[in-house]
């Protein structure tokens, strides 16, 4: 009970305080002479956001880059040692390979399934469309941790002799093979692919919704014209619809790509990075929280930022294009 009251009081105080902050800033400005206060009024609106971004995003980001050249306890400079250590460590190269596989597999499959579902739901009438879309979209509301519990159960393995409860192993047995401890099997990175399936499951809904809206915007005449010329359903899709929604498909691809680069929770909850499933964001977590190695952890995350850098360029270009269209 006291927890609830404490929670409620914190919420009210937190919100009241921030409203008071804006009121105070504007009040202070209004004390200034009219001419100055008109010119400087942007400060009252922008300062809290700017301070927050500066203190929690920009300065710490630079600090991380600096720390990546320091030792475990950030007491002494070590030059490029952390980076040299990382790139001469076979395990870290395996982690990079994992990130590469995630990036290669997940965005492409997510976009492909999303496009397929968007196309299919477009053909079945409004009621069925709504029901199917809701069900595919639903995982969007689920946390990575809850998704991990759902899928761990799906992949679950019980030692031989006890009754099977996992669906995957039951199916495997049903077609005549032995049950396998799936999440521990890293041959050909099998377990990493099983983790990727979970993220695809979570993200397809998003890709479907956005691509579906683009498909609905395709002018009806262009499709009818192609149909009159005798094009098959596939030809209409590949030759008429797809080129017109390609821009949207690519932007969804980039969004999922950025998400996948940072994938972390799924790996933590399902394998704890064991059995060669670790990725960069998880390695950062492990270096810092399990080993308290600040320098190396900072180096890992700096590598991640550098790899995301080119995507940042893509993002800025997309925004500039949108601005130009205004």
């Amino acid at each position: 009970m006291s927890d609830i009251i404490f929670g409620l009081v914190s919420i009210v105080i937190g919100i009241a305080a921030s409203y008071g902050l804006y009121w105070l800033l504007n009040f202070l400005l209004s004390m200034l002479p009219e001419r100055i206060s008109r010119k400087a009024s942007w400060l009252a609106f922008l300062t809290p956001a700017a301070v927050l971004v500066l203190l929690v995003l920009i300065v710490p980001l630079l600090q991380t880059v600096v720390w990546s050249f320091m030792d475990d306890r950030v007491k002494a400079w070590v030059g490029f040692k952390n980076y040299v250590d990382l790139f001469t460590d076979k395990r870290f190269l395996g982690i990079l390979l994992n990130n590469f596989l995630w990036v290669l597999v997940v965005p492409a499959i997510t976009v492909a399934i999303g496009t397929a579902v968007a196309t299919l739901t477009n053909q079945v009438g409004p009621t069925r469309e709504r029901v199917f879309k809701s069900l595919i979209f639903m995982p969007m509301a689920i946390s990575f941790v809850a998704a991990a519990t759902i899928w761990s159960y799906f992949y679950s393995y019980v030692p031989p002799g006890r009754p099977e409860v996992g669906l995957l192993n039951s199916l495997v047995r049903w077609i005549g093979f032995d049950a396998q401890p799936w999440l521990t099997m890293d041959q050909g990175r099998l377990n990493s692919f099983l983790l990727m399936a979970v993220v695809v499951w979570l993200q397809v809904g998003y890709s479907m919704v956005v691509i579906s809206a683009a498909i609905k915007n395709v002018p009806e005449e262009t499709i009818e014209a192609a149909q009159l010329d005798g094009a098959s359903a596939w030809q209409v899709f590949a030759g008429v619809v797809l080129p017109q929604v390609w821009g949207t498909v690519m932007s969804v691809f980039v969004t999922v790509l950025i998400l996948v680069m940072k994938v972390f929770d799924i790996v933590l909850s399902m394998t704890r990075g064991n059995f060669t499933t670790s990725v960069l964001a998880f390695e950062w977590y492990k270096q810092f929280f399990e080993n308290s190695n600040i320098g190396p952890a900072s180096a890992v995350v700096t590598v991640l930022v550098l790899l995301i850098g080119p995507l940042m360029y893509l993002q800025i270009k997309t925004v500039q294009q949108q601005e130009a269209l205004r």
Binding site: G7, F45, L46, L52, V124, S143, A146, P163, S170, V210
Partner: protein, 289 residues
């Protein structure tokens, strides 16, 4: 013509069947865990969940796992999650709406540069700044005796900051569609920028604010990392509690399963009741990475 109609109908049926298969594939893992959460442990350990689905009347159903899991900490975690999530949704929106207002309607030097910086920050992973922020909070505690780590406040601040780039960007895009003439008219009438913001721009931006609020709510509710680092065990949120339960599934899947569904109730209610707005928000480009 009849041939065409026939062809269309057939295509329709084919699409429906494919979609049904896909939807079954998509829902099966969730249904499996849901059924398991409703069965007594002794039964669920020897008979797989689909047996209960095939014979729903002959099966024993129970809410024991839900009671266990609530009493085992899920209930207080629920309260902690709400206390983290509600302000971490409202605060960033308020701060971002103010900033977006400045970016849209006020003139100042360096506007372009500030804005490009924000856009660039949208893709930066949260991990890149968490360690210095955590150390900074510990330092503030030693130097000024302000307790931040282990409290809700630290999570509000960090969530607010990370929401900033996307929130400002989305809200500014919306505010740019508001009629400038209205704001000019209010200025002529002698309204201050502060009054214009609270009385005119903020109410008119309600649709964009609502759709971003839904995303921010789901994002914070489902977050593990920031809650783990900044709130931690003291006021453990549901994702934290759930991960702890998952580590003990050797003792039976029931509690994990029940815990998962308890953590899902609120997001699913939000999702199904506000789905229209979620879709609208997604299409406006407000996607959280």
């Amino acid at each position: 013509m009849i041939k065409v109609m026939h062809l269309l109908r057939r295509m329709n049926l084919g699409s429906t069947i494919m979609l049904i298969i896909l939807v079954m594939l998509w829902s099966t893992p969730t249904v499996g865990l849901l059924i398991t959460s409703l069965r007594p442990r002794s039964v669920a350990e020897i008979s797989p969940w689909w047996e209960a689905l095939l014979n729903p009347i002959g099966t024993v159903w129970t809410l024991d796992a839900y009671r266990n899991s609530l009493e085992g900490g899920m209930l207080s975690s629920l309260i902690n999650t709400i206390a983290v999530t509600v302000p971490a949704t409202i605060l960033p929106l308020m701060i971002a709406a103010n900033a977006a207002y400045a970016f849209t309607f006020l003139k100042f030097k360096g506007k372009e540069l500030f804005f490009s910086t924000l856009v660039a920050l949208m893709v930066i992973p949260v991990q890149s700044s968490l360690i210095p922020v955590l150390r900074g909070m510990v330092w503030a505690q030693r130097t000024f005796d302000i307790q931040l780590t282990g409290t809700y406040v630290s999570a509000w601040l960090v969530h607010s900051a990370f929401a900033m780039p996307l929130a400002i960007y989305t809200l500014r895009n919306f505010m740019m569609t508001l009629p400038n003439s209205l704001i000019e008219a209010a200025k002529v009438d002698g309204a201050s920028y502060y009054q214009i913001f609270w009385r005119l721009v903020l109410p008119m931006s309600a649709p964009a604010i609502a759709s971003f609020a839904i995303f921010q709510f789901l994002w914070v509710w489902n977050d593990y990392l920031i809650a783990f680092i900044f709130v931690g065990e003291q006021k453990s949120v549901m994702t934290y509690q759930l991960l702890r339960l998952l580590g003990q599934y050797g003792e039976g899947w029931q509690d994990v399963a029940a815990g998962s569904f308890i953590s899902l109730i609120v997001p699913l209610i939000v999702f199904f009741s506000l789905q229209r707005f979620i879709v609208r928000g997604l299409l406006a480009g407000s996607v959280k990475g």
